[in-house]
Symmetry: C2
Subunit: 375 residues, 2 copies
DNA sequence: CTGAAAGCGCTTACAG
DNA sequence: CTGAAAGCGCTTACAG
């Protein structure tokens, strides 16, 4: 017999109401909630059988299964995930690592997409937000010994070589979503930046723009992204189409800490663009939000969009259609679904048909692009 | 000794690469990841001491603590949450129940706010999306026996009496966020609808509007919300300010399944409003998104906003400032932080200073409200 | 198809 | 301050 004196009160919780009682005395064990053992006793079978019946694994007679199920329902029984996990070695959890905030256009969509497919498969989706380079380092330091999830989805994070090494040695599958490179991931889902930029430049070219530019977002050195990939792709696309380097301008992202506000960064960028000797007549901007902010700033200054300057964004987020922004549309919910499907397969030990998926964006023509007017 | 034959391979996972090896052979146990026992052995202390040292509980000499910490770092050791949880009875997890999708303005903000405070306290935030009334029923059926989290935050869900009863008997704390009523929750955080509507009606009144109306969103009977509270508050506020019932119009939300698209629902509502004999000169709309859609629809039809009809929204979401919408601003991130702080306190067994918080909204005047022009 | 038993990796009184 | 030992609630070979 277990020493009762040593029995701990599990999940003790004092109600804020004054009576201070514990809830529900339905279970004959007294305080608390039914366990598998209670179900077994009530159904007159062994714990093994209850486990098999409830999880649908192994051979159990239909009659037994039904009875066990009934008893379990009556007792409001739910398996303890901690106990199952400890015994089986599977946590039934997938961690999604994002930067900055859960409440961004891309990250919230990523959560939703991954949740849809993982929850159907019985997995929990656990978000992990990494805000600084240190956070990220700490996460990767502990990743190899982490037994708290069965797989990881890493969103929009630029990895260094150490981190790639960690992923390569990892005992659990890792999938990169919006990964800039294949890294050490078992699978990735990402946008085809080269193709996107080619679409954008082609549009500008066919509209007759001779001087074009790419505008990077203000950069945070402590952040983990890099715009260089996209601006590089822009340059390549422009050269392919016959623009020479004098006709291509890159407006680099300044360190964001130099500015008091997002608006200040926008103004500074707009000023740089306008002060340019041979100002471009069309710009591709790294993201919609920055493109929209620039559009407002240009108009405030008295520059017409698109008559004086055409603008193409990237993302097609919530605001873009309202702003009538021409942009490259991507679907982060769908991308996250794909990423989650990859982790699922990998967690089951199945091989990936296409480990690294590269998705096309669609160019959506709206009202911020037009034929250039002579200045 | 343990029978090795019976040792299970835990967390087995076949790499997609062809070599099929398991990762990392750093640990001297061979395959796999360090456990507390490994750390104890390497540090030359007992498992109890490792546990105490790593968690900072109980008396451990500084010297021992430092050594254990070192060894743990070297071994990339992380506690198994499943094992800790099973042993301690605390899951260190909080479930956030939302409806429909994680990717909505309110829900994504709620995740972010709750995450901020819970992750600081060492808790995981686990989302649970409830899409249908059946999903909700199933969740509440199993809630009493659920040992898989230490607390719940329920977002924007209208409870029935059974569900209130379940919450009242629950052994873990439950907090309602954007709750319409106190329900059976241990704590709630919600908007002061009455005050909000009073602010809105006061503005319209002082601008000189004599005929005003409230527009409900299209409703989903399978969904779990109700607009009646807000429209009721509107009516009360209008009466308070001396409007008689003939001057107040309520445009009820039709069943959403009657429409092929959101846009159809918007058109139908706009038509109802315009066809009204004594059309109101100002409208409060249940949410910003619907207000903005109506604004576009009115303008499409040739009705000027605000000259012919003033519009006030509710939420102040991402699109509102761009649409120049006058609206009632609420801050779901801050609300979610408060909700999470309440669960935290309750999980620690501490009483809540203010169990039920009612937050004011701020009326933001933008360009969709004006003095009515004579028709 | 079913049961007895070992084991998963921790935490926590208890006893020094 | 530290260790030995019981126990948390399951799963899963193994043996019928």
């Amino acid at each position: 017999m277990r020493k009762l004196a040593q029995r701990r009160i599990v999940g003790a919780y004092r109600r804020s109401a004054s009576d201070g009682r514990y809830a529900s005395d339905k279970s004959d064990k007294g305080c608390g909630v039914a366990s598998l053992k209670d179900v077994a006793a009530a159904a007159g079978v062994s714990e093994s059988t209850v486990s098999r019946a409830l999880r649908g694994t192994g051979r159990v007679s239909e009659k037994t299964r039904a009875r066990v199920q009934d008893v379990a329902n009556q007792l409001h029984f739910t398996l303890s995930r901690s106990a199952s996990s400890l015994a089986s070695g599977k946590t039934m959890r997938v961690t999604m690592v994002v930067t900055d905030s859960l409440n961004t256009w891309f990250n919230a969509a990523a959560m939703e997409g991954a949740y849809e497919v993982l929850s159907d498969a019985g997995y929990d989706l656990v978000p992990l937000v990494v805000r600084t380079r240190d956070d990220l380092k700490r996460f990767f330091d502990r990743l190899p010994g982490n037994r708290n999830s069965d797989g990881v989805i890493v969103v929009s994070i630029m990895l260094n070589d150490d981190q790639v090494g960690v992923l390569e040695d990892l005992t659990m599958p890792s999938v990169g979503l919006d990964a800039r490179a294949i890294g050490g991931y078992s699978g990735t889902v990402r946008i085809d930046d080269a193709d996107s930029m080619r679409q954008a430049v082609r549009l500008l070219h066919s509209l007759g723009h001779r001087r074009i530019g790419f505008v990077e977002m203000p950069d945070n050195p402590d952040f983990l992204f890099s715009a260089k990939l996209r601006s590089g792709a822009f340059r390549d696309a422009a050269r392919e189409l016959g623009y020479d380097d004098g006709e291509i301008t890159l407006f680099e992202g300044r360190d964001v800490s130099r500015f008091r506000s997002f608006q200040d960064a926008v103004s500074e960028t707009a000023t740089r663009i306008i002060s340019q000797a041979e100002r471009p007549t069309a710009l591709c901007v790294e993201t919609d939000d920055f493109a929209i902010a620039l559009m407002y700033e240009f108009r405030r200054i008295g520059l017409r969009v698109p008559e004086d300057i055409s603008l193409i964004g990237f993302d097609d987020n919530d605001r873009s259609s309202m702003a009538e922004l021409t942009t490259l549309h991507q679907d982060p919910v769908a991308m996250a679904r794909m990423a989650a499907e990859k982790v699922l397969l990998l967690m089951r030990g199945e091989p990936l048909g296409e480990p690294h998926s590269m998705l096309r964006t669609n160019l959506i023509m709206r009202a911020t692009t037009a034929v250039p007017e002579g200045r």
